[in-house]
Amino acid sequence: MATLILLAPLAELQAQSPEEKGLEIAKEAEQRDNGWGDQASEMVMILRNKQGQESSRTIRAKTLEVAGDGDKSLNIFDEPADVKGTAFLTFTHSTKPDDQWLYLPALKRVKRISSSNKSGPFMGSEFAYEDLASQELDKYTYRWLKDEELEGRDNFVLERIPTYKKSGYKRQHIWIDKETYRPAKIDFYDRKDALLKTLMFLEYKQYLDKYWRAHKFDVVNHQTGKSTELNWKSIKFGNGFTDRDFDQASLKRVK
């Protein structure tokens, strides 16, 4: 009897399928990133074409963690200058479509916009909207592929397949650091299953003794040779944001 009880967990572990293992790793990663509350950040995005010509975008972002649903976020553009003060308010949801409003400062107009444009480029960059959206567990199905060393650190490699509609990707391969469960790299495969982009998460720093945040996202499009670098200039937690900071009245006060 005692032997049986002792052996039971081991048997379960051995019987674990790659899908179960993948989901378990994704769940652990999500679990470790729970409870951060809110975040304010400033970032600069540098777009490069094949010839190396650059243009930049400056963005301020506020995010509020919402328990049991996707995050709320407010993104404000500072550069290029002609779109200064333009802002997006987004309520992300894990299963149903996100709610999104666009604020046009010249017209003082708030427009509810369609959020089904998942695969479109964000501000002309190599990031798609879906790459930068809140990463909820239910947005993918998972499968563990292998363990692999990446830049001297042990990583799990998972395949994840989007469950939401209109994704530009057939699948993704994601490298997750074994020690910290933070993402290190993603390979994106387009709808025709050809390798499209590689995203590297670099310059990690830990906040509140718990939460890891990459300060540089580097994405390269293998099909066009274009690349985009997203640099976080500052990240601040514990801002005391509430739902009130993410409503239409606040959107209209954006400067």
Binding site: S56, P80, D82
Partner: protein, 410 residues
């Protein structure tokens, strides 16, 4: 070249001064986290007209320049904010278009369940593209563009109650702004000149009447809903013929006191935006109602590219029929919006408004592209065809034009 006043403050009346005092006073209580910045735009604009003008005083082409800086300051962790946004335009030919305005000079206090906004501001209501029926707070700066999107700053006290059940906005509009109209050398314009010095008002208070408005707005799932009521001086004037000192027949604006109830609804489902705006107005001739209803559908990533193509369809109705002071009494708007989503944010918007019982067509094209980080090049064209004598657009029948704008942003 530019005779007359360079800067015509559109009657910086008592209300403006009160607003200015409030704003400056509020800044004295500044504390907490500060942030202040300047931004703005300067534009160079060139218009070229395809046909000879109806009036020999009007030009065949025109240069113009505008400047619109904006100062923002916030304190108390953003709970208090102040904005100042003056605007000035200098026009080569039209003295009326050479004008200035205070677009914004306002202080906002934001609390958990309310906001108080005092000063000169711009407020937009509505969802449709073909016309903005519900939008009534600000007067149109008519000399800027035929599209009516440019507005004069409106002095107001606006108190908003922000609750789970929606937002309730109360407005006291402290002072009326007269619409601006093109002068004799202005183009495009109505065939008969509008004489703003012969303006009449229904209200004895003339432009000092305090107008009131109330709006409830809320988001419920896929629906964004607004219901509003306005009681005050109509932003749209009616016109009475007058004879000027030189014996010229001109139009004198008359501003009625009206009641207008409006509703605007947008339903957002996947790539579909379903839109409705409707108003009922009394006090300006017979009581009437008008509506715009339609949709916008976007094809994302057309032809396996990054570009999006949106198609717009709206029906524009006015119960006054052909006697309506609007050109849109039984019309259909068909439009297309192309966004290349490239580094230069290249955009193109094409639209045609077709009169359902006539040959009148009004075409418009707007395109823009960023150059570098601070410049933007815009192209705008309008063509009027088949305009009959009783159409509200008849005065513009010779005014097809192409406009190029270089904008510099800082």
């Amino acid at each position: 070249m530019m005779s007359g006043a360079y800067f015509k403050p559109n009657r910086l009346n008592r209300c403006h001064r009160v607003a200015a005092v409030v704003c400056c006073a509020s800044m004295l209580f500044a504390s907490g986290v500060h942030s202040a910045d300047w931004r703005g735009a300067a534009d160079l604009e060139f218009r070229w007209f395809a046909d000879d003008p109806l009036d020999p005083r009007q030009p065949s082409d025109n240069f113009s320049a505008s400047f619109e800086p904006e100062f923002n300051h916030s304190w108390n962790d953003g709970r208090d904010s102040f904005t100042f946004r003056p605007f000035v335009r200098i026009d080569q030919h039209d003295d009326e278009r050479t004008h200035g305005d205070i677009r914004e000079l306002a202080w906002i206090r934001a609390a958990d369940e309310w906001e108080l906004r005092v000063g000169i501001r711009k407020v937009f209501w509505g969802v449709t593209e073909g016309q903005h029926l519900v939008d009534i707070i600000n007067q149109t700066d008519g000399v800027e563009n035929l599209d009516g999107e440019d507005k004069l700053g409106q002095p107001m006290i606006n108190f908003a109650v922000i609750k789970d059940w929606g937002t309730l906005d109360f407005y006291a509009l402290t002072g009326f702004r007269e619409r601006t109209f093109a002068g004799a050398e202005g183009r495009p314009r109505s065939q008969l000149l509008v004489n703003t010095s012969a303006t009449t008002w229904e209200s004895d208070a003339e432009d000092s009447r305090i107008d009131l408005a109330l709006r409830y707005s809320h988001t419920v799932g896929d629906f964004d809903i607004g219901v509003s009521h306005f009681r005050g001086t109509s932003r749209d004037p009616r016109f009475n013929p007058v004879v000027s000192a030189t014996g010229e027949v001109q139009l004198a604006p008359h501003y009625d006191v009206i009641d207008q109830t409006g509703i605007d609804i947008q339903a957002t489902r996947d790539a579909w935006l379903w839109k409705l705006e409707a108003i009922r107005r009394s006090g300006q001739g017979d009581t009437y109602w008008a509506a715009t209803a339609g949709f916008e559908y976007t094809f994302f990533g057309i032809f396996d590219s990054a570009a999006d193509l949106g198609v717009l369809f709206e029906y524009l109705y006015d119960s006054r029929g052909a006697t309506a002071a609007t050109p849109f009494e039984d019309d259909v708007l068909v439009g297309a919006r192309l966004a290349l989503n490239d580094t230069q944010s290249t955009d193109l918007l094409f639209g045609v408004i077709v009169d359902a019982d006539g040959d009148a067509r009004s075409y418009s094209l707007e395109a823009s592209r960023r150059i570098g980080d601070r410049l933007k090049f815009s192209l705008e064209g309008r063509v009027f065809s088949g305009i009959s004598e009783n159409d509200a657009l008849y005065g513009f029948r010779q005014d097809d034009y192409l406009q190029l704008t270089f904008g510099w942003f800082f």
